[in-house]
Amino acid sequence: DQRIKKSCSDGMNAYMAYKVTTKTSLNLFNRNEFTVKRRFSDFLGLHSKLASKYLHIGYIVPPAPEKSIVGMTKVKVGKEDLSSAEFVEKRRSALERYLMRTVNHPALLKDPDVIQFLESTELPRAVSTQALSGAGILRMVNKAAEAVNKMTIKMNESDAWFEEKQQQFENLDVQLRKLHASVESLVCHRKELSVNTASFAKSAAMLGNSEDHTALSRALSQLAEVEEKIDQLHQEQAYADFYLFSELLGDYVRLITAGVFDHRMKTWSKWQDAQVMLQRKREAEAKLQYANKPDKLQQAKEEIKEWEAKVQQGERDFEQISKNIRREVGRFEKQRVKDFKVVIIKYLESLVHTQQQLIKYWEAFLPEAKAIA
């Protein structure tokens, strides 16, 4: 059982450090509970290491959170701005989700880089994290995918499973992006609603002040108070919309585009290339049989052996990555189902809470309105 929590320490030396606390009963670690301090670039460094080790053999490596430069500079300058506090919380939450996903992956959990990240007090500074941000990885993967496509691979998909899965993932990606966009829009409008409700509340209070009929004046002031409370409610709901719903969707969109299928294609094409090469070498050897060049013939035979080995390796790699992907996708699906179910229920509960509060407020107001005589 493992739990990772994070809290921020304030920006010291112009960067933000995050406290990573791990509670575990696993034997992998030296202690049961420990805390380390990590910077955002450390997370990116961890991700780049894991990506380079596991992506190409078909593991779905959780992508690192986005590096949003605008927000970061605001914090560095040290402005006590609502939006910068929001930004830090957004990032903290994203980093936490990232770590949780990583350690939930049974293979990644055992990875020495991960263990070191969680445990050791000092961590070597990750270099050149510019290119290693989530977006950077995405660019790299996309370039690779483009290159693969440019090689006009019409892969003989003997496995219907892969074809089906790929299509499913594509469809899922499209819909999740659409949903994500709508939820972001909702968050925005709810925040707007909260601001406008607060503004209206103030205005209603002013109106109540100038109303010269005492009972009506009081009722208007009460209305203003109700609206003020409601504005708070809207704000809280907007946060729930965001942290529960929107962020999860964003995470999944990024997970899907991690491009495991493209790596499989690359592996397949490497195998095919090796086969083509082998064929050429064999043809070359056959030709050399009739020329009288014993050295060259020997060399050709050696090259054939080399390429036979490469072909075998290519085939093994392809089978391995296919097997890994199958397993990973199965795990991903299970995780996805769990995640979504949990989040949807939590989100609905937040909506329930909002309605219950609304009922409370209006029930308190109604007698006040009726009391206007």
């Binding site: 909702l186 205005s203 010269d212 609905l348």
Partner: protein
């Protein structure tokens, strides 16, 4: 009855609104004269209101009759009251605002143009929503025109006005063209002069405490109602936007649910269904807030302006009276044109006293009406908010029960 191409959409407003629509005004239903708008027809660029009258008064040829009127004719009637010196001491019921379907029409047109680019379901959904919006605006404009007529009919003096009777009874077109550019410009300057005047006039300290208080009160109240009205509009618009987002989310969830082969597809479909229902409720909340709160504030914005206008007219009369006094003193001092000055002074005095007397009553009535209208609307607002919140809650809880039972 709506434009060609639009069906009569689902009844969008709450049940309360189907009854007598004079929601902002506390009126006695008087058997001697009852006016309502029994029907309305929306055409390309105008709305035709069927004004229906029931009366036992001898002035009318029949006891029950109907005529068709357009917005400009209402304005003509209103302006005739304003320009009538006899009514200077009354709060003239504010004119209804011009029916404005431009925004709604534009949206419908855009939808028609974009029909090819969306699925049949999306198109039907959006069309229904826009039709409902159109219907809501339509109902509102009918209500506002009706309220104006009812106010006139309820006023002891205005209800006897000849123009009013012509308006109600004459079944031909009144041929009141809208003001042309020159006339609109003249109006504009009149208003400028009036407001400059208003500053001068209201600067005159009133001997009468009642009016002094009313002046200060109305000036402040009017400004604050204006502010509250604007802010409530903004709040309600945000609410509508949020409801629209929930609509889109529901659609996408539905698609996800149909595409998904795992367990979670049931979740998606159930939640999609839930959101379809809750967003309808959210839209109703916004619509009800619009009716009970925003419209109330807008109406009292116009009424408080009418009350201010009354105070202005009284102030003007007071200034005239005081000037006439001064002129009389001067004439007496010079012993020249004394009789003329005396008659002028008497006329001014009578005018001022007449206005003051009726103005006092009008302002008291205004307060009574205002308090009653606010009470009615605030109570109804709270009741509707509660109804919708409870509805929402029930939907959410039953959906949660199903989903939790599944896991």
């Amino acid at each position: 009855m709506m434009q060609e191409g639009l069906d009569d959409g689902p009844d969008f407003l709450s049940e309360e609104d189907r009854g007598p629509r004079a929601v902002n005004v506390d009126l006695q239903t008087d058997a001697t004269l009852q006016v309502d708008i029994s029907d309305a027809l929306s055409e390309r660029d105008k709305v035709k209101f069927t004004v229906h009258t029931k009366s036992t008064l001898p002035n009318f040829k029949q006891n029950e009759f109907s005529v068709v009127r357009q917005h400009e004719e209402f304005i003509w009637l209103h302006d005739s009251f304003v320009e009538n010196e006899e009514y200077a001491g009354f709060i003239i019921p504010p004119a209804p605002p011009r029916p404005d379907f431009d925004a709604s029409r534009e949206k419908l047109q855009k939808l028609g143009e974009g029909e090819g680019s969306m699925t049949k379901e999306e198109f039907t959904k959006m069309k229904q929503e826009l039709e409902a919006e159109y219907l809501a605006i339509f109902k509102k404009t009918v209500a506002m025109h009706e309220v104006f007529l009812c106010r006139v009919a309820a006023h002891p003096v205005l209800r006897k006005d000849l123009n009013f009777h012509v308006f109600l009874e004459y079944n031909q077109d009144l041929s009141v063209r809208g003001k042309n550019k020159k006339e609109k410009l003249e109006d504009f300057f009149k208003n400028v002069v009036k407001s400059a005047d208003g500053v001068i006039v209201s600067g005159v300290k009133d001997v009468d405490d009642f009016f002094e208080h009313e002046k200060t009160f109305l000036l402040e109240y009017h400004n604050r109602v204006k502010d509250a009205s604007a802010k409530s509009d903004r709040m309600i618009r945000s609410h509508k936007s949020a409801a629209d987002d929930i609509n889109r989310i529901a659609s996408t969830l539905y698609t996800l649910g149909t595409q998904d082969s795992t367990d979670v597809c049931k979740f998606f479909l159930k939640v999609s269904e839930l959101f379809e229902k809750t967003r309808k409720i959210e839209a109703r909340v916004a619509a009800d807030e619009d009716l009970k709160l925003a419209d109330l504030l807008k109406y009292y914005l116009r009424e408080s302006q009418a009350a201010k206008d009354l105070l202005y007219r009284r102030g003007r009369a007071l200034v005239d009276y005081e000037n006439a006094n001064k002129a009389l003193d001067k004439a007496r001092a010079k012993n020249k044109d004394v009789l003329q000055a005396e008659t002028t002074q008497q006329v001014c005095c009578q005018k001022f006293e007449k206005i003051s007397e009726s103005a006092k009553q009008e302002l008291i009535d205004f307060k009574t009406r205002r308090v009653a209208a606010f009470r009615k609307n605030l109570v109804e607002l709270a009741e509707l908010e509660l109804k919708h919140a409870k509805g929402n809650l029930q939907l959410l809880q039953s959906c949660l029960a199903v989903l939790k039972g599944d896991t």
